[in-house]
Amino acid sequence: MPPRTLYEKIWSAHAVLEQPDQPALIYIDRHLIHEGTSPQAFSGLKQAGRTVRRPDLTFAVMDHSVPTQNRHLPIVDDIAKAQFDALTQNCRETGVRLFDLHSRNQGIVHVIGPELGLTQPGLTIVCGDSHTSTHGALGALAFGIGTSEVEHVLATQCLLQLKSKTLRIEVHGQRPPGITAKDIILAIIGKIGVAGGTGHVIEYAGPAIRALGMEGRMTVCNMSIEAGARAGMVAPDDTTFAYLEGRPFVPRGKDFQVAVDFWKSLATDPGAAYDRSVELNAEEIKPQVTWGTNPGMVTDVTGRVPDPNSFRNPVERKAAERALEYMALEPGTRMVDIPLDRVFIGSCTNSRISDLRAAARVVVGKKVARSLKQALVVPGSRVVKAQAEKEGLDKIFTDAGFEWRDAGCSMCVAMNDDILPSGERCASTSNRNFEGRQGKGGRTHLASPIMAAAAAIEGHFVDIRQWGVNGAD
């Protein structure tokens, strides 16, 4: 057999039916659903008189619209309540397992999948959410789908898929202190652009990726979609196996060893060909901050807001002009001189325990700047929250003046009441700085957890490398 990539191995192991010039029917091992994109799929299914083929492989969680405070009180948001009720009812009728608002394991779908060990190397995983790419960090093939496809998977446990091209992104060198997984992925998007990965599945490789812990790899894979790629993957290795061992859905004892042996066989074979390759040097990466209205509009914290006239392509120039107008920024402004109104530490990109530990190391013994209206820490899951509280991180944050909340998507997507008000500017550890993403008229600057934490202390961005804190794993 010719050498194959990780993607090709998982693809062919899941092809139920392949015919020339037709999309393949691909088997799905884990279907994750949430209250936001599933109700129409269930009603479609019901209307057509169809049933859920594998409720035992389908997992539901409430995350997008959940309140992050006063969880014990009745839901006052009627629209959100209708979403929760619909999900509960649909799960009850079909036998799909549900992590509801009050589950101790509730959290953002892309945080709890790996945390529970539902996500494993070699599996195919889909969810009606574009950040499903996160799960690829464990060597799974995972991607976001629309609601019609959610319905398709519910009915058939399969998806019709055309094979993607492959893009290998190799990050050489050693990550300097203060540089995090978030800076690596923002630098990658800055280099290849927000459509640089369109039509491709990305495999991240190289020593700087290998050196990342599991959670850092999740941060990288999470934002693959921000580069246009539906899926991002990292070949499983000892870091992956150590992360998985003992998690609730991971095989035990002898079965675990059997699983590890199989997982080891998934890595891309030497000499396997990719459709495209890109290389970066981690040593050259500086802390990243976005200045515009998509994640590709990013620069070093030591840099300045660019002049739209510096863009040669007229379409891009116009986009930069529009972005600066929306962001209310003048060309040439130093990134560290932009005053902030709020700071949000959370989202499926950066809300895991290592993110919170790193942010806590930055803020310990310090105070949130008085100019700030709000600094928010939203753990990615209730398990993360409990662990952080065990370690006293919540106390570090609240002592510094941060709010400590319950788990959910929160101000990354503003589907609950955590909304960035119009005209305000937020340093955010989330993944999208689109117009209105955190709230209508809100202005988002994406950065790493340690950069956001330091920005909360100073009221503006600072070069975290000068603080002598490490970027964790």
Partner: protein, 212 residues
Amino acid sequence: MQPFAQHSGLVAPLDRVNVDTDQMIPVRFCRLLTREGYGRFLFYSWRYLEGEKPNPDFVLNRPRFRGASILLARANFGCGSSREHAPWGVLDYGFRVVIAPSFADIFYNNCFKNGILPVTLRDAEVDDLFQRTEQTEGYRLTVDLEKQTIANDGLELSFAIEPSRKHALLKGLDEIGQSLQHTDKIAAFEKAHPTQAVMHDPVDVIISEPKP
């Protein structure tokens, strides 16, 4: 799904690159439980001023583009969130065709599930169409999926499309119904490659028995 064969209609130009699905349907309108009625919310923040008053500066509000059913767009159209509310909004507003130099993968895919034809043309061709649309009031195009052409008096452009997608759209196929015809193959696959999600440690999850 409604089939798509041929469509003639007024063209509206949206001269912005990287239009994301958050712009098409802002998230606060994505909390509804239905597939219908999203046309009102399409491009909401650009289209309306306070109190849902039409913003006269937004291109779709210009009287000459009223009733447009072909949207002319720029590169990487539909990037970002996988929300199918975006194509639902595009369709419900009245667009049957979107023309752009490139589309984001998930949005592109979602269009085909909803009877919208996304047409990919070369940059220069799209530039040219933008000029024609701006210069000629009432500029219309005829899009023929069977022939894979876009035409107007004297202009004919051809476009590429994946044959299986073309076939599904021409026929308005119910993909789930199609896939369910392979139930025996799916069952055989499950037998040969059993996949399970076994809980070895209890987690706090609600499990119901499916209703018969």
